[in-house]
Amino acid sequence: MKRLKDNFGEAIQRVDLPDDGRLYLFVAPASLKEICRFIFRDLDARYIISIGADDRPISGKFLVAHNFAFDREGLLASVLAYLAGEKPTVDSITDAVPAANWAEREFRDLVGIEPRGHRYPKRLVLPDGWPEGAHPLRKDVPWNYCPPDFKADQEFTFDDPPEGCVVVPFGPFHPTLDEPAHFRLYVEGEMVRGCEYRGFMAHRGIEKLGESVLTYNDIPMMAERICGICGCVHNVAYAQAVENAAAIAPPPRAEIIRTIMLEIERLHSHLLWVGLACHIVGFDTLFMQSFRIREPIMRFAEKITGNRKTYALCLIGGVRWDFNPELMSELRAVLGRLEEEWRAVADAVGRDRNLQKRTRGVGVTTPQLVKEAGLIGPVARAAGVDIDCRRDHPYAAYDRVEFKVIVEKDGDVWSRIVVRLMEVFESIHIIRQCLEKIEDGPIQAAITDELPPGRMGMSSVEAPRGESHHFVITGEQNRPRRWRVRAPTYQNLQGIPAMIKDQQLADMTISLGSIDPCFSCTDRIETVDLRSGRTRVYTQEELIKSRRTGLINANQKK
């Protein structure tokens, strides 16, 4: 902090330190890039996300924020700059912070803030048929706006593949991708030489709805639906971000219950992932067994919350579900059985040379790639980078429990398997401690006043896939002015091109699978009607037509 002041004393306009763990740095736009470079390189902070916001109704300006985490110091920092003008531009920080690649393209598409000097300024979120100059996240654009000159059948323009390579499409629909995302792999023989990613096909406008239609206590319901696997994470992260902004402290019992439910979610998610990873490499027996072992967890979650998934846990300042002694003793029994069975699985997997053969040395990440691409969660921990939001930025009741952060060294798919296998035991350990420490009391803080507008809040929650980061600016009319969600896959997916380069095509699926990708988390915002086939792109109408005639003929090829 002091070094920052020494170096950039002039450029720093205002510093907010609302509590020990948060720092807001308002700087002059001209020195934004250099300050970010200093924070990222010299102070060795971890890049989280960049946010663009339309602040014109309040200050007449646009707002850009780059968020960083100081994991060792337990500090989340946001570097903000106000930009004037109707067509604001800001220096791109991708030279200094490569991990900002997607985030800057996203605010260019959605808010219309132009990142000057971006390394790869291609459209990211909006479909190619979307006209220039229409930016859905601006405040003067209604949530259901569709520009009149939107061309739904516009094809996406792909880059040219490198010399000597064949294009192998991977997605948008592929048996091992349960969600739509499109990778164009450049393949030479069986070797992958590079790829181009096209995602954001299932955008639902969640952030826009949160900022324009829903209210504070509606949004947890919406946030939960960002993801079908780790929904509770978004639910808690949103509630905590608002609580952080408005300085509301949920009661201890609520925090313990949040911790328990988050760990229950991690248990079912890791068990699901181990199963899917085995399915991807053709080992269906373990796939079926881990789903069987996972089932009691799902049933228990249903007993507490009424749902196997989508727990609807949080409100601002508390939780909606409580534990009683019967539920707690049942949870203990479920955990006991799970631990025993999972021990057997972990032993079997540890001895399985066949599985190791397929996963060792595959999809390797180095600590350097982790830093440059901003990788997080089990992917980072498997590469020897010791980060875990539960320990580094404690939230809920994580400061009251003890647990180990599992770290492996090799950075390959095998290490990620080991990390997730072992984290299951840590989760069980955490839940047991929570059950010991749970105390009587209310589960909801009384909130009597309206939440003050214009406050900022950040929350990082360690999802099963890595850090899930929510940034909130509180607003008027009982809803946030800006709400930005950064799901873990958003960063981890950006590491994939480096992970799959120069390895076999057969390793592509398990490499991609090993980050436990969640495309619905990543694609949050708009609707796109782009369905691409082999070397051609079918439009929606063509597909409907061909369904009616019953044929997709070879002669439709372009």
């Binding site: 064949v166 294009v167 192998v168 499409p169 592929h174 048996p175 091992t176 069986e190 085995c278 399915h279 991807i280 490499v281 053709g282 080992f283 269906d284 027996t285 796939f287 079926m288 067994q289 069987r292 399985d352 066949n354 599985l355 053969k357 397929r358 076999q504 095509l505 057969a506 390793d507 592509m508 699926t509 082999r534 019953g550 044929l551 997709i552 003929n553 070879a554």
Partner: protein, 309 residues
Amino acid sequence: MTAMELIKIILGGLANVFLVLLLAPFFEGILRKLTARIQSRQGPPLWQPYYDLLKLLGKEDLEAGESPLMQRGAACLALGSVLTVAWLVPMGFAPPLNAGGDIVLLIYLLGLCAIATLLAGLAAGSTYSLMGISREMMAVITLEPLLVVALVVGATHAGSLRLDRVLDGSVYGASGIPWSGLIMLAVMLLSFQAFVQRVPFDTAEAETEIMEGPVMEYSGPKLALLKYARMAKLVIYSGLLVALFLPWGSALPFPLGLAAFWLKVFGLVLLVTLVAATHARYRIDQALRYYAALLGVAFLALVLAVNGY
């Protein structure tokens, strides 16, 4: 050749074809049921593969590929070549087409089975099919010699290329059990999973990587034929392995010999299921290295056999 003998050949051949067609889906059903049990699942009824085939056969015959005519041909050839091989393999009694062919024909026909799959993929012409057949081709080139070596070792010991003499436990020779025979038995057991294209050696189809590879563009009756061929292959290769390496009991009088043969085939299917259920799929380069090592051992066995060991 008298008319009587001719009728006997035709009836015997048809009996073999009929047996293979009848029992192949049944073995597939056992395989699926047992796999399900290992995976803590209920599993489909034993008759499910019959229903599946019937359903596929009754579907509309869509043409979705580069050259529909060739695709249809390839699908027919796939099943046809497997069934032709059935005429040359003893199934509880001497091979029906004993007089008409020798093991060289058998080797060629087995090659044709593989070529049918390649054709099917090539004719479909999608990226994934082409990747599938390039993998299949690599596998065939390293795998087929294994079988050839096994047959030649048998022929060397038997001193004949005749089907009934080679396909009768010939690898063990007339007197005592030679080293070469034991080595070949080990090699064939280790590579059997690859011949019947099951996990861990189903790289050419690899659903989670290249979406069934060569057969991905097929549906309806054509898919039924390709699936049937795959099921029949399991039976035929099991039969070949039994005839070459596990001849004991085949010489028993009529119903017992037949029963012994099918029991041994059944045992092999169980083995295939167990291995498939407990392994992850190998990558094509890992599989090829494995086959190459086996091939090296097989050649050693051939050298031993030629020298009378």
